[in-house]
């Protein structure tokens, strides 16, 4: 029996679809489509399905041309489930209400900023104890979602009760069609009170207390409730998809949720003791995910080119570009986000934009989570492997080597890590389809659907400029032939590897040189597989020592890109 699953992603200006089946015994990607679109999303689903039907020979429309031809018989072959992920739509306007900044509002920011949500109002009940003022603010602000948290279980209730009374009024005044979704994630003792008081049926979502005891925070208690609320907001925004939300064979969920789920699973299953970092860049937004010791950290950032300081971009460009051309490119890119760089100048500006966006994501995440240690100068302080890259800004608007360099120079990883490109943007859909059959993501991750970009060995040494810091021996298992290299301080070295080989690399660092093997001076054998760019040894140090002179800096960047084969 062959099980087929269909994944669809509704992104801003793009619709993607993937077909997976286990005809060969294991699940594989059978066909995929990635189409630009500017109009009716429902029609776009039909269009990508027609393309998939053409390339796979599998019928996905029903006999009457409707969505989707799902085979309900568990014992026969056919389409078993459809996972629809979405990143389209304006950011959901949210209000967060908490009893204190540290224990309620800060966790709520972490919870909501994982998603495509813009926090338009924050009510700190300690700073604004006046219930009348709270009510006026709540009534005069436009938002679609309210999340209320605060108080440990069995703790004080008075301030929360008052704001719950106010939310009841807000819901009444706005009426059934326009009232916001309300998530209650505070003191558990008040959950029933909130339900009885607010009286808005399915528009109220009760979650566990995100701070059940003093000093203990667990956002996962509220994740599902927020997800349901987001889903209802999106269905209101796109009523043409209402039929998807109640169908047991269809999952309709935000893409960022899908990515979060699969990244979390990957981190939990790997045995290297490192975290997992995932950067996803689309023209309209970026999403960063870091999972470390089971803690899922994420941040969604809208791509607001208006906010990018020109000077910051200029420092990332490795070619002289006039201010006029630079600002023209940025302003016009805002108007035409799908614009593809054609000239070398365009390419350099796009590279700088991408680098800047990656840096902002990393900085944003470290601002939200104390556990995510990053600074633009020192890079990542913790060990993360693999580092996943996805999204059309990294796969369609830059050549692969430029995407790699933009990520490497902003992330500045520690120790030894692997950088992997999700060229077909599979991660989100796999996370959603996992609900139907968890063998699907398991087997896909082990397949060649992902592109291994490079194994990066980061060398940190106090040695002086151009002194040897590391000796490397590369064994490609090819009739005893071995390559030997010397790596100097401040050098970026690429070791090309042959295809389809298991490669062993012996690292012999100088004293005081740390290559991520546990302590400075300690080396050893590292096993790796072949990858698009090979093995990258980054001995440029932390922070990157860049010349202050613009021309010298651009030349150095140019040299590094040249080393990457650009």
């Amino acid at each position: 029996m062959v099980s087929t699953y269909l994944g669809i992603e509704l992104a801003a200006q793009r619709t993607r679809a993937w077909l997976f089946d286990n005809e060969s015994g294991v699940f594989q990607l059978k066909a995929q489509v990635d189409e630009p679109d500017y109009g009716d999303k429902r029609e776009m689903i039909h269009q990508v399905l027609r393309e998939l039907e053409k390339s796979s020979g599998q019928r996905l429309h029903t006999k009457h041309g409707k969505l989707f031809d799902i085979n309900k018989d568990k014992n026969s072959s056919g389409l078993k489930g459809v996972g629809i992920s979405y990143s389209m739509g304006k950011p959901i306007r949210a209000t967060i209400i908490g009893v204190s900044e540290k224990f309620s509002l800060a966790p709520l920011r972490r919870l909501l900023q994982f998603f495509n949500v813009e926090i338009v109002l924050e009510l700190d009940l300690q700073k604004e104890p006046n219930v009348s003022n709270q009510l006026e603010t709540l009534i005069s602000t436009a938002y679609d979602l309210v999340v209320l948290a605060g108080g440990v279980d069995a703790g004080p209730e008075k301030a929360l009760r008052a704001v719950i009374n106010n939310l009841r009024l807000v819901a009444q005044l706005r009426g059934k069609t326009n009232r916001p979704q309300i998530v209650y994630a505070g003191n558990k003792e008040l959950a029933d009170y909130a339900k009885l008081e607010i009286e808005i049926e399915d528009d109220l979502h009760l979650a566990g207390n995100i701070q059940p005891e003093s000093g203990r925070e667990d956002l996962s208690f509220a994740f599902n409730a927020v997800l349901k609320a987001i889903q209802r907001v999106r269905i209101k925004e796109f009523p043409e998809f209402e039929d998807f939300s109640g169908d047991p064979d269809i999952r309709f969920l935000p893409s960022e949720f899908g990515r979060g789920r699969i990244d979390h699973w990957l981190e939990q299953t790997q045995i290297n003791g490192k975290g997992l970092l995932h950067i996803h860049l689309e023209p309209d937004h970026g999403h960063i995910l870091a999972v470390r010791d089971g803690l899922r950290m994420g941040l969604w950032q809208a791509n607001d080119l208006d906010q990018i300081p020109i000077e910051a971009l200029k420092s990332l460009i490795n070619l002289p570009v006039s201010d006029f051309n630079l600002t023209s490119y940025i302003r016009n890119k805002q108007l035409h986000p799908g614009f593809v760089p054609v000239t070398i100048e365009d390419l350099n500006i796009e590279f700088a934009l991408t680098s800047y966006r990656i840096r902002k994501l990393l900085e944003g995440l470290s601002g939200l989570y104390d556990q995510f240690l990053y600074s633009p100068e020192q890079g990542l302080v913790d060990n993360y492997e693999p580092i996943l890259l996805s999204g059309s800004s990294l796969t369609k608007f830059l050549p692969l080597r430029h995407s790699f360099m933009a990520a490497l120079d902003q992330i500045l990883p520690r120790g030894i890590t692997t950088i992997v490109l999700d060229e077909f943007q599979l991660m989100g859909t796999l996370g959603i389809l996992a609900e139907f059959d968890n063998m699907l993501p398991t087997q896909l991750v082990d397949s060649d659907a992902f592109t291994s970009l490079a194994t990066v060995i980061n060398v940190v040494s106090p040695n002086a400029f151009r002194r040897i810091v590391l000796r490397v021996e590369v064994d490609e298992g090819d009739k005893g032939y071995r390559q030997h290299h010397q790596i100097h301080q401040s050098e970026l070295k690429r070791l090309e590897t042959m295809n389809n080989h298991e490669i062993r690399v012996y690292l012999a660092p100088e004293r005081d040189t740390d290559v991520g093997m546990g302590m400075p001076g300690l080396g050893g054998w590292v096993n790796t597989t072949s990858s698009s760019l090979g093995i990258i040894i980054d001995a440029r140090g932390r922070p990157l020592r860049l010349p202050t002179d613009e021309k010298d800096r651009q030349e150095l960047w140019h040299d590094w890109l040249w080393e990457m084969g650009v």
Binding site: Y38, A162, F324, S328, Y329, R331, N332, V342, L347
Partner: protein, 346 residues
């Protein structure tokens, strides 16, 4: 080929969404004809709220609460009315500070809503109500000809469109309320002159990107046809504009939201257009379509698609993309990624 809407449209709809920022009542019905300035929706909100915590302020027991609150929820109250009273030797009162209504009595708290503030949404155009948004407003629709722009400063204007050869022609009289087309790249120092002339709106081929912050503050509606950079208005757009001159037009300089397909637009209402169907037919673009190029070095110039290869090609930048071969006005052939042009005419 589909998926790109032509910038120049001959027989199309202008769809203008008119909504309140907060829910209220919609004052129009589907199919209703409306004039510019007509009320579409109105929200009447209490101007102020006052929440009085009876238990806390009177320091009474919960058992005494019921006897203390003198008004019921939804009751109208007038200034000075007693809302709550603490019984006893020394009586204390809570009186309504203004006329209003008791909107809630919960948990020992009385909530009063006082005064009224009205928020209204009016139609900026003449047209027909095509869609209602429950509690929020409506979509107003009108048929006519359209020229889509690339950037706008988020305002609305209407008036007679006139052509201005150069800025020296402009005086302080005779331009009031006129929508001006100026075939020059606007610089910020020219704005003052145009503001003094009290023009009703301005259309230019492109804007200087280095002065962006000033353009977004311009007091009149401003639309750039091609975006930011250096270019002149190409012939096909000039020809289309000629049909709009000396006519009453709408200039909707919407701030562009490309991911929601929202763009600024110049619109000429044509009442006698007849279409047999409700929706205008979509025109597909492809071989022979006239396109306007984006990006340097051909920014804003036009050409015709002469070839559309099926396979992706590797560009000089190293990026792979599907392309179109475009013959420019001077006869040169260039290979342009499909994302790097706008279709002028299908």
């Amino acid at each position: 080929m589909t998926n790109k809407q032509a910038l120049l449209q001959n027989n199309c709809f202008l769809r203008q969404t008119v909504t309140l920022p907060v829910p209220g009542k919609v004052a129009v019905h589907l199919g209703q004809e409306v004039k510019a300035g007509d009320l579409i929706a109105e929200a009447i909100l209490p101007a102020r709220f006052q929440v009085f915590d009876v238990l806390n302020h009177f320091r009474i027991k919960e058992s005494k609460l019921e006897g203390s609150i003198k008004r019921l929820a939804q009751e109208e109250v007038h200034r000075g009315d007693v809302i709550a009273r603490k019984p006893g030797l020394i009586s204390r009162l809570f009186r309504a500070p203004e006329d209003g209504r008791v909107v809630a009595v919960r948990d020992g708290r009385v909530t009063l809503a006082m005064g009224e503030k009205s928020i209204t949404a009016h139609s900026p155009i003449n047209g027909v109500v095509a869609q209602l948004f429950a509690g929020l407003g409506a979509e107003i629709m009108i048929r006519g000809k359209s020229i889509r722009g690339a950037w706008g400063n988020g305002q609305f204007g209407s008036g007679t469109l006139i052509y201005l050869e150069n800025l020296d022609e402009i005086g302080t009289e005779g331009f009031t309320g006129k929508i001006v087309f100026l075939d020059e790249i606007l610089s910020a120092d020219q704005i003052e002159k145009l503001t003094k002339a009290k023009i009703g709106g301005l259309i230019v081929p492109a804007l200087n990107p280095l002065e962006y912050s000033k353009f977004s503050q311009v007091p009149f509606p401003l639309m750039s046809l091609a975006g930011f950079g250096e270019t002149k208005t190409p012939l096909p757009i000039q020809e289309k504009l000629a049909e709009f001159f000396d006519q009453e037009i709408y200039l909707l300089t919407r701030e562009p939201l490309p991911f929601q397909a929202v763009y600024p637009e110049l619109f000429l209402p044509v009442v006698d257009f007849k279409t047999p169907e409700l929706f205008a037919e979509t025109e597909n673009w492809g071989l022979g379509s006239t396109v306007q190029l984006l990006g340097m070095p051909y920014f804003g110039t036009v050409g015709k698609i002469v070839e559309l290869p099926d396979e992706e090609e590797r560009l000089a930048s190293g990026v792979s993309s599907r392309i179109a071969v475009v013959e420019r006005d001077d006869g040169t052939l260039i290979r342009v990624p499909l994302n790097n042009f706008e279709v002028l005419k299908a």
